[in-house]
């Protein structure tokens, strides 16, 4: 901390100077105060003296005093009131510059008491005749909203702000748009911006006239609009494309965002679609001639664009070639994009470049370049041979980290092209001793195990690793275990001792549960049925995917909606790095009229055996094959001992019925002129249904039933009309089931799962509200991959975690897991620590929100503990209630 304490003498001196009669001396004193403030000295003691200088006609002095006020008003709220009068007076000044200055500064004084005094001057300034004052007042509404949102709503400032969007001055429009966009972000469901074709037209007109910054605000706001059809979308694109020639890179990127988003809606066979694609490439390339920091932002975005629409830049490979003097962050990003653009057409050039890079100085860059060569081999089959020989050349350099990196990628190449390049194994084995990084060691061990039959001294090689078994990292230990088992299955006669040794090391001397579990499985497998063991361990591996490091498609879509922003730089959704309610809303690309086709790379994930091989996704995918085959082929001969290991929720549990709460009376007959409604909610085959029992307790026949929902938290809406076919005669009861969709209008309710319903019949309209169990919204594909789960769990801040107790529940953990699964609460993994079972579970809501949970069950203790983590913590309570209901039912 750099926080000086100003000595009393200095303060005293300043005090005297501030109270001096001479204007110049006063001004100099205030300057000194500001200078001290800047470096972090505490000069708050001078508050009254500085505020006394405020009443001046010297504008420079006034601005300095204002600066001081903004800094210290919060620590001295009572004294800050002293300044109010001057502000109010200044807001009436004939000089528009002074009026604007006053309203600008007042908004920055974050003292609750002052805000009430601010309202009247602000109201006047919003309607000021001078545009400079209006544009400043527009921003002031956003400031006030940040301090006291309720006040802004009550005073009607939001409406005035909306009116400013139609202002004649483009800068006023731009600032109003910026302020409204920010306010709207903290009220995700309000219709504040109210974008419709008319207002969009106004914004597009203002776009041509306002400053570069204003253009950015407007384009960013436009990107949130959902055009009604492809024609509207095309006409907006046509009016946005000229912005691609702007000198300001941020204007260009924001325009690219709008185009990338709206392009989704255009039919692909449209001529205009092709024209637009062509127009996008040159401005993206031009961004690379900007200053390095902007280049970095541009490259991070291009990385996303290339994944979403590779066709745009496929001919522009050369511009991503690394320059000797590029900063390292630009180099690394360029390299990433080069690999994504690599294809058969340009592979020769790319390889020549990569080889060049592999001799550079920066270690990270060199490593990435070596890895890139391997990725090229996997991506472009024709180049594989050249890549392998390049890698061998690099291994010959004997530069330690180059060798290690090369071995890691060669392992992937083996996986992709089995039985083709194994001749190089000898060269690899020469470098065994120099490997000191876990990833490289693990890769080398994998190669030895996989090709044990071709390596004469495979047993010696593996044995040498075994000596320091306990000093190795988990990754290497797991790999060594698997490799030796493979070796044993291939050469059983000579290696019996070795396998015994590794199994006992793994099961008896290790306290790593993953290693122990894997050891036990192998042990039992080998002792029960060696034939099955062979089938399992030496099973054919699925091919590895060509592309690695791809961003998951739904995340990619979201990031495309955030082009130009920090989210696109971090490649993370805003909710991952922004605190509070902002950014919780997930943005989506609009759907084309047809269906959206996206290619999802199939990453098979390993549960037990391969789960901890991090780093190379390609390798992880390979090991995944083992456990996937295992339960099927081992079912019959397996003893009870293994059974419990596999008895996880995933895929094995019996399909149970989902939990449906009993029907309750929602609308008593007394309140509805004789109509009684009771009902419940159910999820059947992925469809949410509202099941109603209508009873006519009146004396006359009821007809013409209809139903409507108010806006609600998850956008529930009837998917069809209420099917009551025949009239309901007195004392008759009928059962109706109404399918629901989740695409209706959204508004946050209190409690979250509250639903307000209106039912109409020939007599009247009746209103009631009911609460649905949130489990109705748990979708069937809510099972998260294990690694994603781990990453997400870590990613969600701890303050979003809430813990609950479930009392008196007498299920064991497996039964609980099965029960939960029936309601789409999926168990990802189970761990047992000191008699306590921990179940890790994931849930996906119909609106795409993920909820992660950890359930702790202690044998013999009927009280469970559940911890719920979610990016939108407000759902936690509901989720808990629901889990409790499911478990106790």
């Amino acid at each position: 901390m750099l926080c000086f304490h100003v000595c009393a003498g200095e303060i005293f001196e300043l005090k005297a100077e501030l109270n001096s009669d001479k204007k110049e001396k006063k001004k100099e004193a205030v300057k000194k105060v500001i200078a001290s403030m800047t470096v972090g000295k505490d000069v708050s003691a001078l508050f009254p003296d500085v505020v006394n200088c405020m009443q001046t006609d010297n504008l420079e002095l006034k601005k300095l005093v204002y600066l001081y006020l903004m800094n210290y008003a919060k620590s001295q709220p009572d004294m800050a009131i002293m300044a109010v009068n001057t502000f109010v007076k200044d807001c009436e000044d004939p000089n528009p510059l002074i009026r604007a200055l006053a309203v600008r500064t007042m908004g920055c004084i974050r003292v609750d008491k002052i805000t009430e005094y601010l309202c009247e001057p602000l109201r006047k300034c919003l309607k000021d005749e001078d545009p400079y004052v209006r544009k400043t007042a527009a921003v002031c509404v956003a400031k006030l909203h940040d301090i006291n949102a309720q006040l802004v709503e009550d005073q009607g400032f939001l409406d005035t702000l909306k009116d400013l969007i139609s202002d004649s001055n483009p800068m006023v429009v731009a600032n109003a748009v910026a302020a409204l966009s920010e306010i709207a972000e903290s009220h995700p469901n309000s219709n504040l911006l109210d974008l419709n074709p008319q207002s969009i037209n106004k914004l597009l007109t203002a776009l041509n006239e306002c400053t570069e910054w204003g253009q950015i605000f407007i384009l960013d706001c436009l990107a949130n609009y959902a055009p009604r059809d492809d024609r509207e979308s095309q006409s907006i694109c046509e009016r946005v494309t000229p912005r691609l020639s702007h000198a300001n890179s941020a204007v260009v990127l924001s325009a690219v965002k709008v185009l990338m988003k709206f392009m989704e809606m255009l039919p692909k066979d449209l001529d205009y679609y092709g024209t637009l694609l062509k127009k996008l490439a040159p401005p993206l390339v031009t961004l690379l001639s900007a200053e390095p920091e902007l280049q970095y932002v541009a490259l991070r975005n291009i990385n996303l664009i290339v994944q979403k629409r590779p066709e745009i830049l496929k001919h522009e490979m050369k511009v991503f070639f690394v320059k000797y003097n590029d900063p390292i962050y630009v180099k690394l990003e360029k390299l990433d994009i080069m690999i994504r653009l690599a294809s058969q057409a340009n592979i020769a050039q790319v390889l020549a470049e990569l080889k060049e890079y592999a001799t550079e100085v920066d270690v990270d860059f060199v490593r990435k370049a070596v890895r890139a060569i391997g990725r090229c081999a996997i991506k472009v089959e024709q180049s594989a041979e050249r890549c392998v020989s390049t890698l061998l050349d690099l291994i010959q350099t004997k530069v330690n980290y180059v060798v290690q990196e090369a071995i890691v990628v060669i392992k992937d190449i083996f996986r992709k092209y089995p039985n083709k390049y194994e001749s190089v194994i000898a060269t690899l084995c020469e470098n065994l001793d120099s490997l000191d990084e876990p990833e490289a060691r693990a890769a080398m061990i994998w190669i030895v195990g996989e090709y044990a039959e071709r390596i004469d001294n495979a047993d010696e090689l593996l044995e040498s690793f075994l000596e320091g078994f306990h000093d190795e990292s988990t990754q290497v230990q797991l790999q060594l275990l698997t490799a030796i088992v493979k070796l044993f299955l291939k050469k059983p006669t000579e290696t019996q001792e070795l396998v015994q040794q590794v199994l006992s090391l793994a099961t008896q001397d290790s306290d790593n549960p993953d290693l122990r579990d894997r050891g036990y499985i192998y042990w039992r497998l080998l002792s029960t049925d060696p034939v099955a063991a062979k089938e399992v361990v030496l099973a054919e591996k699925p091919l590895i995917s060509e592309e690695t490091d791809l961003i998951e498609p739904t995340l990619l879509e979201e990031l495309i909606c955030h082009i130009g922003t920090l989210a696109s730089v971090y490649h993370k959704p805003p909710s991952a790095f922004v605190e509070g309610s902002r950014g919780v809303m997930h943005k989506r690309l609009p759907a084309r009229t047809g269906s959206l086709v996206s290619v999802i790379p199939s990453h098979t994930l390993s549960f037990f055996l391969g789960g901890d091989i991090g780093g190379s996704a390609a390798m992880g995918a390979g090991f995944g094959a083992v456990p996937a085959v295992m339960p099927a082929s081992l079912n019959a001969p397996m003893g009870g001992g293994l059974g419990d290991l596999f008895d996880l929720g995933g895929g094995v549990g019996m399909p149970l019925g989902a939990y449906i709460p009993p029907k309750t009376v929602w609308l008593p007959a007394m309140k509805a002129k004789g109509l009684e409604i009771s009902g419940t909610f159910a999820r059947r085959a992925g469809v949410i249904q509202m099941e109603l029992t209508l009873t006519n307790k009146a004396m006359s026949v009821m007809t013409d039933f209809a139903i409507q929902f108010n806006r609600n938290s998850f956008g529930l809406a009837p998917a069809g009309p209420l099917q009551v076919l025949s009239p309901l005669s007195p004392n008759q009861t009928i059962e109706v089931s109404l399918p629901l969709s989740t695409v209706g209008p959204v508004m946050k309710m209190e409690p979250l799962n509250n639903l307000q319903v209106a039912v109409k019949n020939n007599i009247d309209v009746f209103y009631f509200s009911c609460q649905y169990p949130i489990s109705m919204l748990f979708v069937e594909d809510g099972k998260m991959e294990r690694q994603v789960f781990l990453a997400t769990w870590k990613d969600i801040p701890n303050e979003n975690e809430s813990q609950f107790q479930i009392k008196d529940c007498h299920l064991n953990s497996d039964a609980a897991s099965n029960k939960l699964q029936a309601s789409n609460i999926f168990t990802i993994a189970k761990r047992t620590v000191e008699g306590q079972d921990m179940l890790y579970m994931s849930i996906k809501l119909s609106n795409g929100i993920w909820v992660l949970a950890e359930l702790r069950v202690q044998t013999g203790n009927p009280n469970y503990t559940i911890s719920v983590k979610c990016r939108a913590p407000e759902v936690s309570q509901c989720v808990f209630q629901c889990c409790e209901a499911v478990l106790k039912n």
């Binding site: 800068m171 910054w213 000229p242 702007h246 990127l253 020549a352 605190e579």
Partner: protein, 436 residues
């Protein structure tokens, strides 16, 4: 939006600290100092996230500028703003140095108050700012002057004020190009492009409307196809036209007009400004060709021979030619022989620097050097950085030609013919490298 803006010296001491948002506290100032400035290593990313706070930073000589936020802001905009802020400061007090910042801190605070409001960038055109941020107070202004200022700051033509008068209407137009090349040792062009700028200095009265034309292929083809036989088309059909890959314009240019008609029309700012930037990749005239020959004679000696050939009209002269030949780190001695210019081995820069003052077109020159090396046991081979070149030539390597620049001012009594116009072409080397 931007939550705060800090300026530090190279030691990490705060020179300017302006906080716009409540979520940015004093600790943010220190966090950046500790994590970035004091880290004393190469910057691995210009955006740093520390404890959920994002710092955008740029460095100008010894000075760090950092914009801070906790929200998902428009990152490109923040950097553009930081650059703009450097421009504004430079326009007010010259070089951005610790001394200048300390001497002008009151002015900087005043500027920051004006060009960023609650973290939203506002009009930051120096032309407009200088009318009312003067460090002299605004007491003397009349009501008309005040409203003129506010309408200019918020208006459509925020970059130019009304009522400018010159006795002599004059225009200077510079076409500045930097030609970039990456060539393989065998003489194959790996990548080449020209990035050019059209920079203008205009001293024109009133609110003139300007129209700029160049030998852009699209415009000329269009004119040719349409069968237009005006003077312009005639005079240019003989000349070569160039294909422009992409161009960007100063905010004064009407972009929608360029998009629809490909004509460049604008009301210019007063004084110096950059009208446009462009990039070309086709048919570039590469002014120099470098032919390297490196031979390793044993483990302690290198022989280097480099030939440069100039490739343009013999009547033109290139200037300030400099060839930089990198040498290994374990160099112990160098002997150089060159036919023209001066060559020196600079141990501190690990390079032989060969300088030639002037060289006419279609000429050739050669340097040869013997480099003696100390024996080392370093396993890693020498990376052989590329040979780079610097030069200046009096033509545009892209082939761009200015066809016309017309000035119309209907309200004042001067016409296009009365304006004195100067055009100049300068081609410079950008990153002009040949691998060896």
């Amino acid at each position: 939006m931007i939550g705060g803006l800090f300026i530090y010296n190279h030691k990490g001491e705060v020179l300017i600290s302006r906080v716009y948002r409540d979520d940015i506290g004093r600790h943010a100032v220190d966090a950046f100092r500790v994590n970035v400035i004091h880290a004393r290593q190469q910057v691995r990313s210009p955006v740093t996230n520390i404890a959920r706070t994002s710092f955008f930073h740029v460095k100008r000589s010894n000075i760090w500028l950092a914009a801070v936020t906790k929200q998902n802001v428009n990152a490109a905009m923040v950097f553009e703003f930081l650059y703009k802020m450097c421009d504004v400061m430079a326009a007010y007090f010259g070089k951005i140095s610790e001394e200048n910042i300390k001497n002008n801190f009151v002015l900087i605070y005043e500027l920051l108050d004006e060009i960023l409001d609650f973290g939203y960038p506002q009009n930051s055109e120096t032309g407009a700012l200088k009318t009312f941020i003067t460090q002299q107070g605004i007491k003397g202004q009349t009501k008309e002057e005040q409203s003129q200022i506010t309408s200019q700051v918020t208006g459509q033509i925020g970059w130019r004020r009304e009522g400018i008068k010159y006795r002599r209407n004059e225009l200077f137009l510079d076409v500045l190009e930097s030609v970039n090349l990456l060539m393989s040792p065998q003489g194959q062009v790996l990548s080449a492009h020209v990035s050019g700028r059209v920079v203008m200095k205009s001293y024109l009265s009133g609110m003139p409307e300007c129209k700029f034309g160049m030998n852009d292929k699209i415009v000329i083809d269009k004119a040719g196809k349409g069968g237009v036989t005006d003077d312009v088309a005639k005079s240019t059909t003989g000349k070569q036209s160039i294909a422009i890959d992409d161009c960007t314009f100063n905010q004064c240019v009407r972009l929608s007009k360029f998009d629809s008609e490909r004509s460049i029309s604008f009301i210019p700012p007063d004084g110096e400004y950059e009208l446009m930037r462009y990039r070309t990749t086709k048919d570039i005239i590469l002014p120099f060709r470098v032919i390297p020959l490196v031979r390793e004679v044993g483990r302690t000696k290198l022989e280097v021979k480099v030939v440069i050939k100039s490739n343009f009209k013999p009547s033109l002269l290139a200037q300030k030619i400099e060839v930089r030949i990198p040498t290994p780190l374990n160099t112990s001695g160098v002997q150089v022989i060159c036919m023209k210019g001066k060559a020196k081995y600079k141990a501190s820069e690990n390079a032989i620097v060969w300088k030639i003052k002037r060289m006419a077109g279609m000429k050739e020159s050669q340097i040869s050097a013997e480099i003696e090396l100390l024996p080392t046991n370093d396993k890693k081979k020498w990376a052989r950085p590329p040979i780079s070149m610097n030069f200046e030539v009096p033509f545009a390597p892209s082939g761009l030609k200015v066809r016309y620049l017309k000035v119309f001012e209907s309200k004042l009594n001067y016409s296009d013919h009365d304006v004195i116009k100067w055009v100049r072409y300068i081609g410079r080397s950008g990153i002009y490298e040949t691998r060896c």
